[in-house]
């Protein structure tokens, strides 16, 4: 498969170009905070409940809130129907996504409680964990959960020996490497880093740098989406 033609990718993007991204803050009524994101072909809804009481109670921590994160794919979100419920992939993604968000939440403010984050992948087109983390981060802010910063995430990878930002499905499936990154752009702290495929050490450094740039663009969009919603409320 040929991925790069005249410096452009299969969907006509430049190597360092993100797909179109749209955040909708507060998309759900019942959740304490929510965010719907469209990221290229991905359609993802994130909701936050809490801080609230922990069930089962033995999970509660005396000095801080616990964070739970559930990444779930809808059975219709992919080409071939997916069996509903958690599989090994989504259990791992839930774990690393929780660990990506956890460091910025000020958990000490809410002992004995839980902050539950639910991310539903309604339509998947590569980079769902990253887009899910972006939406979850905005949903947490929408819920008023105190945080040290926003977490932004994107994938970088390699196709036709070129390091590229924000892979689409074909690039992810048939490309040479995939590396999701999440960070607090303000402090430069990386909170998620995974990689599979083949990267030389030089390519890796390029990829990490490109990931940083991608996260910075996304952070800006997250901020703007939040500001837009809450400025609107002030005016009313």
């Amino acid at each position: 498969m040929e991925f790069m033609k005249n410096g452009k990718r299969i969907d006509n993007r430049l190597p360092n170009e993100l797909r179109p991204i749209k955040f909708e803050v507060g998309a759900l009524e019942r959740a304490d905070g929510s965010c719907y994101v469209e990221h290229g072909g991905n359609k993802i809804m994130a909701a936050v409940y809490g801080p609230r009481a922990v069930h089962p109670r033995h999970l509660q921590q005396a000095n801080r809130a616990i964070i739970r994160y559930r990444y779930n794919m809808a059975s219709f979100s992919v080409e071939e129907r997916r069996r509903p419920g958690p599989d090994r992939r989504s259990i791992e993604i839930s774990k690393v996504s929780r660990e990506a968000i956890d460091p910025v939440i000020i958990k000490e403010f809410y002992p004995r409680s839980t902050i539950d984050i639910f991310v539903e992948i309604l339509q998947a087109d590569a980079g769902t964990r990253s887009a899910g983390i972006n939406a979850a981060s905005v949903a947490l802010a929408d819920a008023g959960v105190p945080m040290r910063g926003l977490i932004s995430s994107c994938a970088v990878g390699k196709v036709d020996d070129t390091v590229v930002l924000d892979l689409v499905k074909e690039e992810d499936n048939y490309g040479q490497a995939d590396m999701p990154v999440a960070m607090d752009v303000r402090t430069g702290e990386v909170t998620l880093l995974q990689m599979d495929g083949h990267l030389t050490l030089d390519e890796f450094e390029q990829a990490l740098e490109l990931g940083k740039i991608g996260c910075a663009s996304i952070a800006k969009m997250q901020r703007e989406a939040l500001i837009q919603k809450y400025r609107g409320e002030e005016d009313e």
């Binding site: 990386v190 880093l193 740098e209």
Partner: protein, 261 residues
């Protein structure tokens, strides 16, 4: 994994880290002694016991003919599983694999798969079936750095494994088509000091660790950050460089630089 550690021990390890020292006297980039024994499970087509210090894992590889995935009829199948059995640690509980076991298995699997350690196209059989390779990691003693022990065990067991051709009427037994030699190196960052092969105590107090899997030429095949801590871009770059060269050294020591035959 929810191991608890006394405040005083935590402070002690941090104090040592400030002076670039470790509680067990190792240098920051030094591994505990690594021991690999292969072929100790006769019923398995390949097996390896890996000890890194007191950490101990046993990896069994079963190879049997079976149906390929419908979307990849000409490639063999790798299935990796990790059992964190309760005999290995007071913090492990019986039951189906939890997220830690699943993460561990998936990182080991990615290392083997993405590095191209096994040439899956050479695993087809004349009757339309393919070889299924089950890599099962049984953790026996958890004293830190399970990731590296499991990955090393998987590699050693695969190199040790034979396709049981005779048993199924496909001619004489043959080794697996091994093409790469992925080695995992895990690092933690304590107060700016990067330590390789974290002991259980070090891994418990470090809030995150980074596993880097690299191949024969030093290129990266897989990576995983695990835990709720954060790492700076500079720290990551340092760890990756260090891990890639350490992996070469470990490979040379254990396999003499090559995994062929």
């Amino acid at each position: 994994m929810n191991d608890v550690i006394a405040e005083i021990k935590r402070d002690y390890i941090y104090e040592l880290a400030k002076r670039s020292e470790r509680a067990d006297g190792r240098a920051l980039d030094e591994y505990r002694p690594i021991q690999v024994e292969v072929g100790l499970i006769g019923k398995a087509e390949g097996s390896a016991r890996v000890k890194i210090g007191n950490t101990q894992v046993l990896v069994g590889v079963k190879v049997q003919p079976g149906e390929p995935f419908p979307d990849a009829p000409d490639t063999g199948v790798i299935i990796t599983n990790v059992e964190l059995v309760p005999l290995a640690s007071p913090s492990f509980e019986p039951g189906p694999p939890d997220e830690n076991a699943i993460e561990l298995a998936r990182v080991v699997d990615r290392g083997v798969r993405e590095s191209g350690a096994i040439d899956l196209s050479q695993l087809t059989l004349p009757d339309g079936k393919v070889w299924l390779i089950f890599i099962d990691v049984h953790v026996l003693d958890h004293d830190g750095n399970l990731m590296d022990a499991a990955a090393l065990g998987a590699l050693a067991a695969l190199v040790n494994a034979k396709k049981p051709c005779e048993r199924y009427g496909y001619g004489p037994d043959a080794p697996l088509p091994i093409k790469e030699s992925p080695v995992a190196v895990t690092a933690v960052d304590l107060d700016g000091e990067i330590m390789l092969d974290p002991s259980l105590d070090e891994e418990t107090i470090a809030s995150s660790k980074l596993t880097v899997i690299s191949g024969l030429q030093g290129a990266l095949a897989g990576m995983q950050k695990s835990g709720t801590g954060t790492l700076s871009v500079e720290e990551i770059a340092r760890i990756v460089k260090l891990a890639s060269s350490k992996a070469m050294q470990i490979r040379d020591d254990l396999f003499g630089g090559s995994t062929d035959g």
